[in-house]
């Protein structure tokens, strides 16, 4: 089975089978990452541009390493050094980059939907490394891979997602992916941070408080609280937020024994996640990061037309 898409912009656009294909490929890629010589010639001669309009350490590095392990040439462009500050439009920037004939553009952009805008106009593949509050498909995939590693399946899981769902592209990609794979997602957060019509996104339940969401959960996924995004109207103080929507060893007991704790990073220690939990036995945060490289290798590989490697 091949992968039919030129671009990967949202897990909403992928079928269950396509998601499985990406996860299976990622598992194979993981083997490469454990070798002494972590490099295969698969994408030799391909040029990949990492175009990051928003700051990123983890995701950008992860995409860059993924490209290099597949022997592609990767170039990083970040906003401070780009023409964005000179008033050039996104389309003009992309057209100029296109003239240099890249095969894949990996982009992060603050405006939801920017990737569709480019994908419609450019012949190269576009991979979404995060767009506004829309989706972050590589994060959704790496989260699902991490869950599958632990449970051997993705159907029938109870996954709690806690925090600012409204502004979270991580939450949207996880909801789209997980509900497609047969999991049930429970959302909790201050009502100021739960988007209208969230239940319509699939098998999703909006809970009245955090305890209800994590009660009996297989996975507790905590979202990063970002004061710079939330401003002053959505929550009074981080202290109060932490008290009602923070995960600590005490409320974690409500979840299943050995439930997974996940966080997309970077963590605000002592706010959404207490250090005891972040560094505890149930934390899979580092495993998520590790899987990130493999998942991104799989994404680069499949938009380049690769078949499943057996």
């Amino acid at each position: 089975m091949g992968f039919k898409h030129k671009d990967i912009i949202a897990l909403r656009d992928l079928t269950k089978e396509e998601i499985l294909l990406l996860l299976d490929t990622a598992e194979n890629m993981r083997e490469i990452n454990s070798r002494d010589i972590k490099k295969v010639p698969t994408l030799r001669g391909k040029t990949i541009i990492n175009l990051f309009y928003e700051a990123s350490t983890r995701t950008r590095t992860s995409f860059e390493i993924a490209a290099k392990r597949l022997s592609a040439d990767a170039v990083n462009i970040s906003p401070s050094t780009s023409s964005a500050t000179k008033g050039e439009t996104l389309l003009d920037t992309a057209k100029n980059l296109m003239a240099m004939k890249p095969d894949i553009i990996v982009m992060r952009h603050a405006i939801s939907g920017s990737h569709y805008f480019l994908a419609k106009r450019l012949p190269c593949s576009i991979i979404n490394a995060g767009d506004g509050a829309h989706e972050h498909p590589s994060q959704g995939l790496l989260d699902m891979l991490t869950m599958r590693d632990r449970f051997g399946r993705l159907d029938g899981l109870k996954v709690a997602i806690v925090g600012d769902v409204t502004h979270s592209r991580v939450a949207r990609s996880n909801i789209q992916g997980l509900t497609k794979m047969g999991s049930h997602v429970f959302l909790a957060g201050p009502p100021t941070m739960i988007p209208t019509g969230a239940e319509q996104l699939g098998n999703v339940t909006v809970c009245k408080d955090m305890n209800e969401a994590i009660d009996g959960a297989d996975v507790v996924m905590m979202l990063r609280i970002q004061l710079e995004r939330q401003g002053k109207t959505l929550l009074p103080t981080l202290k109060e937020y932490s008290r009602y929507y923070g995960l600590n060893p005490e409320n974690l007991k409500l979840a299943k024994k050995d439930a997974m704790v996940m966080h997309p990073g970077p963590i605000n220690r002592g706010v959404e996640l207490s250090s005891y939990v972040a560094d505890g036995d149930q934390s899979h945060v580092m495993k998520q990061v590790e899987n990130g490289v493999a998942v991104r290798m799989a994404m680069l590989y499949h938009v380049s037309g690769g078949e499943l490697v057996e």
Partner: protein, 446 residues
């Protein structure tokens, strides 16, 4: 086809005829619909020297009268769009008085009422006089300007409404920049009442809009776009309706799009508040699902709402809560629309698609034909007191001949407007203006 544009006349491109006023014109065999006189019958209309002379069966015309056979067509008082943006002066790269009035003529409108958010803002008689003079000299249809409520539409101090009215403004509005200060709005309503000029409110609580770019609802949630809650419109509508009630001043609410705002207006009308309102064709034709795919031609303000709101808009058209259909024709350059969704400007063009979209309401039995003509001609004329919207003998002969069966495709290359920002590009429309007649002169023929 009639040949008003004889050989030596200067001919505009396409179907626009600006020369030669016939002494007399007979429009025969059309279904004449004039709600101002309760007329709905197959009749002839005779026009002489720019005025309606006679309506009746088998009307005899003097020798040499030009004749239009309107068999199968509706003949109505000239359509009036009481909410357009002509972008002139200052923003002529989007539209100007010539292209805007040509779009109006092509859409069957004999009069347009233009909003003051030009550059400079129409908050003084110099700008008003310029618009009127240019429209008279070069425009295809009548142009009635709207002046600003506050100086520069900045919401700080009242504009000189007396001077604006004297110069020819038919209403005042800070469209797009709603008056945020409730005290100032109260005084504006009182002052406008004293000057005998209608105040049009763009009812929107900007604090609730925030950085929103589309209707707050499931589509926005899925697309990850910031929502604009319906409450932003309802809260502002309630404020202005209560201020109108308190001051006893009339108020007209522009482009109503929500169920709640309509309920507020309906209740206010029932208790005698002098409130009128309009909606736009997109608010009864599209929902916020049209934004999917990050379609910037579905981005406007107020935003496209839920299916529930569309149903409520239709019900309010039917029960008369909504007095008028106006397009909020908002031309924007391609560069302002062919960009990332959040950066795209609000608004769509509407003059050339309003008639077929509104005729659909008749097909769907939301409105009778006479009720539609009321909302597109009679009522706007009444609300603004501009002496149009009727075919009574002696009235200015502004007439629209509508071919309800004409099928056509919205082709960006054939639109008269300078801008092409329409969500209906490439789509099939049914119904069109066959002839647009201003003061007895055919200014457009299909």
């Amino acid at each position: 086809m009639i040949a008003y544009n004889s050989g030596e006349d200067k001919i505009r491109p396409d179907n626009f005829i600006f020369e030669v006023i016939p002494m007399s014109l007979l429009i025969k065999n059309g279904r004449v619909i004039d709600p101002s006189q309760n007329i709905d019958d197959t009749l002839d209309v005779l026009v002489e020297r720019g005025k309606v002379k006679e309506i009746g069966k088998g009307v005899k015309a003097p020798a040499g009268t030009e004749t239009i056979d309107a068999k199968g067509c509706y003949v109505t008082p000239g359509l009036i769009d009481m909410h357009v943006h002509l972008r002139d002066p200052g923003l002529e790269y989007k539209e100007d008085i010539v292209s805007g009035t040509m779009a109006a003529a092509a859409g069957g409108f004999t009069s347009v009422v233009c909003m003051p958010n030009t550059s400079p803002v129409n908050d003084n008689k110099t700008v008003t006089t310029y618009i009127i003079a240019k429209a008279k000299a070069e425009g295809a249809v009548n142009v009635f300007p709207i002046g600003a409520i506050t100086k520069g539409s900045k919401g700080e101090s009242l504009a000189e409404m007396g001077e604006l009215k004297e110069a020819g403004c038919v209403a005042v509005s800070d469209d797009g920049h709603p008056v945020a200060n409730a005290e100032l709005m109260r005084r504006a309503l009182e002052y406008a009442k004293g000057m005998g000029i209608m105040l049009i409110s763009h009812a929107e609580e900007k604090a609730l809009v925030g950085e929103g770019v589309m209707n707050e609802g499931f589509a926005a949630t899925e697309l990850g776009l910031k929502g604009i809650p319906w409450a932003a419109e309802d809260v502002a509508t309630a404020r202005d309706v209560y201020l109108a009630e308190f001051t006893g001043s009339p108020v007209h609410i522009a482009h109503v799009s929500t169920k709640g705002a309509l309920r507020i207006i309906r209740n206010a009308k029932a208790r005698g508040v002098k409130v009128t309102c309009e909606t736009a064709p997109h608010y009864f034709s599209l929902t916020d699902d049209a934004v999917r795919g990050y379609e910037t031609n579905a981005k406007m303000n107020p935003p496209l709402r839920s299916a529930d709101d569309v149903t409520a808009v239709k019900a309010a058209l039917k029960d008369g809560t909504i007095d008028a259909i106006a397009t909020d024709h908002a031309p924007h350059h391609l560069d302002e629309k062919d960009i990332e969704f959040n950066l795209a400007l609000n608004g769509i063009i509407g003059l050339e698609t309003s008639l077929p979209l509104s005729l659909k309401l008749v097909e769907e039995k939301v409105l009778t034909l006479p009720a539609l003509v009321e909302k597109m001609s009679v009522n706007p004329a009444k609300i603004l007191d501009i002496g149009r919207g009727t075919l009574k003998a002696g009235a200015v002969a502004d007439i629209t001949v509508i071919d309800p069966k004409a099928e056509w495709i919205v082709d960006p290359d054939k639109l008269a407007s300078k801008s092409k920002n329409s969500p209906w590009l490439g789509q099939k429309m049914k119904g069109a203006a066959a002839y647009t007649i201003v003061a007895g002169k055919v200014v457009y023929k299909k």
